[in-house]
Symmetry: C2
Subunit: 509 residues, 2 copies
């Protein structure tokens, strides 16, 4: 291992000033680069120029979260907690070359956690150095405003708050502008930028694809478990009621609305938590997501695909297990056929036989007990999104389903986020990916596909069987111990399971 | 990499019940084992027995901290932040064998952060797996109460609070009892337990050595940068004034003192922060450390060495740079002799020549500019402690000084905590330890010495020149690119520097 960080190197000159990072085993790393500042509820503004050299040697503050962290599921997803502050508009860069002629593909990671939580470093698997090295790409990850700070729409209270309902998205647009302006100095190609993200990160990419201000700032998109039916989007009326209730609770009036900019964050959260239950019981959506309107046009599946987005190639996929958190019976592989069928019937009742028959066609060789956790919440909207996109544009899209079993609890099908270490080429630092003879190969397949796609718009590579463009055949790359493209293989299964398990427990997104 | 965690393995039966961990590359790991519970300000009590199997797959909550985290100095010391809760009495175990006949030496890590902050997982270098494997030892790390929750002495308010001024130490004693009772089931030898800790962790070990309740619970001790002049210890009078001011601020009276047990932690902290400045200006110590008395006898250098402690072999050491945070001039190795002397003279004035002459004798070949950060705050009390201990007992002690330069800012002498990755055999996960041809060798030297000491009470090993027992010669192992035992080599230098730099800026401890 070789570390260098001298008084003169590595230093990069950005448009606003010089920054110093460090070099680890040949990968230049810059952590906590401030890309903008923002007054609460206002648009971000680019950073003021500075003299001298600023250190970029520590990840920046993450956006304030509305609930306290709880250590849980650390083996499924190892987390990194980090100090929070409204001063949170920071990004990180990893690159193998600091030379503006290098023009490597740029991959910008947009983190998950819905639109309300997470950070660019929330998961250990988000470290970008290994991906930068393996894929010879420049990796960027970015913090931006979340939850009540990112999506409280105060537009009714004054023109200066016009875009407050999309502030978190405006931060991402500002970050992408920073990338366009500065990434060449880090060896990246500003004309070849891929945004990739998982869960809420994919959701934010869906939003960026419907945000005209983002046109020209990215050129390809990977949505990992990011297309989902979010339930009722915020409606202007319902959201306005919520805002009114919050400011009322805080004793702030409409003609004194700027007081909301200085209320301590904790008080803002308390006020929200006090008014939310009653609103929720009225059927009002009190969740956080961008307000559709002039800035963000709304879900493409409802309002149509934004023009510029039609020429953006996409990868869209999901996991075989996702958020289905049902406990699997122990030693599922030692159960006999009848015991397996009984377990499935206990969940799916009369539909069990039909579902099992479909499952055996869709997944020959797989244990039918895994039906207990088969995802439909992501797979259905993914297909819906891709079908509608197919009708709107000829620009290629590629679909995947990540179906690996992991060595915990006698074999657990891939859950929400289980693919991230593979995409980041980080399986060696995530213990649960310790599957000898399997993880390394699959990581090579996923990561090569991702970086080839970033390079050329086509994920095909020697490591994988041919990955056909998504078409009427609903071609889907199934990532597993053996990877394979399947066509029209699970639509009926997914419909049957979704219909038979309306009450199956599941995490909220 | 191989990970296993099935429904049946690895499971260990503790006195209170079964727990399941995981196995990574042959190292069994149990995270977040609850070893006790405690009502606020009361002694810890051992855990209630349970049925079935509890998972120990995620680190437990860390103790509540009185100030918010700030990302800083991440290259010098990579941190892990983690959720906080008063429900924090958790420990972690790493072992290569789960077999009660294995009886491997046990090393219990006690974290730093004074008596007021930190956690068993605060630093990335605290991961115990690599040490367990390299040294074939069982590693334990432990959370315990800190700051106002660990050391507020309410004994004046009722017998049930008798030991509240030492609650954090009582937690450690309880954890060591848990180790004594349970560690054999994890492959450890309950009759061969070494406590090791850095900074406040070493300070807590000093305290444990003066705590009769800890007798028989550990057998060897390593104090890394842990012996320091803490300034005024809490005095019963001053501390009592502080307690009175806090409860007064909270509107709690002496006859209603139990209300203090349910005040939200944040309010407790706010009350302390409001009353502390005035008390401090009266000269009252408002810091956190255990109240000397019946439970903790007080600093051995003042009250004499506790009987049982006299038979505990020790390693005691410090760093060449420690908390001296002066910036070094850039390119210090390219400066000519005169420029170097000028830099030293700017700090030490008239004493500079004498100091430089002493330095050249003590550290031939080392850049005199490093005098700007030469530690005296730890080295002096280390020598004082060892001298007094030598007068009190023949049980061997070994002294070290860690003097490596690191590749940041054109070469920075080892700071407070820089040795931790070496002791834990974790230099490969701490970027700044990336010094090819140096770090790996030095890590082997330090880690072999530490684990040999844990095994036998003697750190000597083939990797190092002979490490003499500390005696009148003040024999000190200097860990550096070349390791060497030096005798009576720096006492005069340390005195001169301490005298000439009373106002040199330094972190508070």
């Amino acid at each position: 291992m070789t570390f260098t960080c001298t008084s003169t190197s590595p230093i990069v000159e950005t448009a606003a000033g010089k920054i110093r990072g460090f070099c680890l085993n040949g990968t230049y790393t810059f952590q906590g680069i401030r890309y903008a500042t923002a007054k609460r509820f206002h648009d971000p503004v680019s950073v003021e120029p500075w003299e001298g050299v600023k250190d970029a040697l520590a990840y920046g503050y993450i956006a304030p979260l509305m609930s306290e962290g709880i250590p849980h599921d650390e083996k499924l997803i190892p987390h990194r907690f980090w100090p929070e502050s409204e001063d949170c508009l920071y990004l990180n860069v990893w690159s193998r070359q600091l030379d503006s002629s290098a023009r490597k593909p740029v991959m910008v990671w947009i983190h998950g956690g819905g639109f309300s939580s997470g950070s660019s470093i929330e998961q250990l698997a988000y470290e970008g150095g290994s991906l930068a090295e393996y894929g010879d790409v420049v990796v960027v990850s970015v913090n931006h405003r979340l939850n009540i700070l990112g999506y409280l729409d105060l537009s009714a209270y004054g023109a200066e708050y016009e875009n407050s309902g999309c502030a978190g998205i405006a931060d991402l647009v500002e970050a992408l502008k920073w990338v366009k302006t500065n990434i060449a100095a880090f060896g990246g190609d500003p004309d070849n930028v891929t945004v990739f993200g998982q869960s809420g990160g994919g959701g934010k990419i869906q939003v960026l694809l419907q945000t005209p201000a983002a046109e020209g700032l990215f050129h390809k998109a990977i949505l990992q478990s990011g297309v989902i039916d979010f339930g009722p989007n915020p409606t202007p009326d319902g959201h306005r009621k919520m805002v009114a209730a919050i400011i009322d609770k805080l004793g702030i009036s409409a003609d004194n609305i700027s007081a909301l900019e200085t209320v301590p964050f904790k008080q803002l959260v308390d006020a929200y938590n006090e008014v939310a239950p009653a609103l929720r019981s009225e059927g009002i959506d009190v969740g956080w997501s961008p307000m559709p309107g002039k800035y963000y046009l709304g879900d493409a599946r409802n309002v149509g695909f934004c023009d510029f987005a039609k020429s953006i190639p996409c990868i869209v996929g999901s996991m075989i297990g996702e958020f289905a958190v049902v406990s699997l019976p122990p030693k599922k592989d030692e159960m006999d056929e009848q015991a397996r069928r009984d377990a499935v019937a206990a969940m799916y009742g009369d539909s069990a036989d039909e579902i099992i028959a479909e499952y055996k066609k869709a997944y020959p060789g797989r244990n039918i007990v895994d039906l207990l956790v088969l995802d439909t919440r992501f797979r259905r909207p993914n297909i819906d999104f891709l079908d509608k996109r197919l009708a709107a544009t000829d620009t290629p899209a590629y679909c995947y389903l990540f179906a690996l079993d992991f060595p915990i609890d006698d074999g657990r099908p891939a859950w929400h986020g289980a693919e991230i270490p593979f995409a980041f080429h980080n399986t060696d630092i995530i213990p649960i990916c310790g599957i000898p003879g399997v993880a390394e190969r699959l990581e090579k397949q996923v990561c090569t596909a991702w970086t080839n796609f970033a390079r050329t718009g086509d994920p095909n590579c020697a490591e994988l069987p041919e990955w056909s463009v998504y078409g009427a055949d609903r071609a889907t790359m199934v990532f597993d111990r053996e990877c394979e493209v399947r066509r029209n293989f699970d639509s009926r299964l997914v419909e049957l399971v979704a219909k038979a398990s309306p009450a199956r427990p599941s995490f909220p997104v």
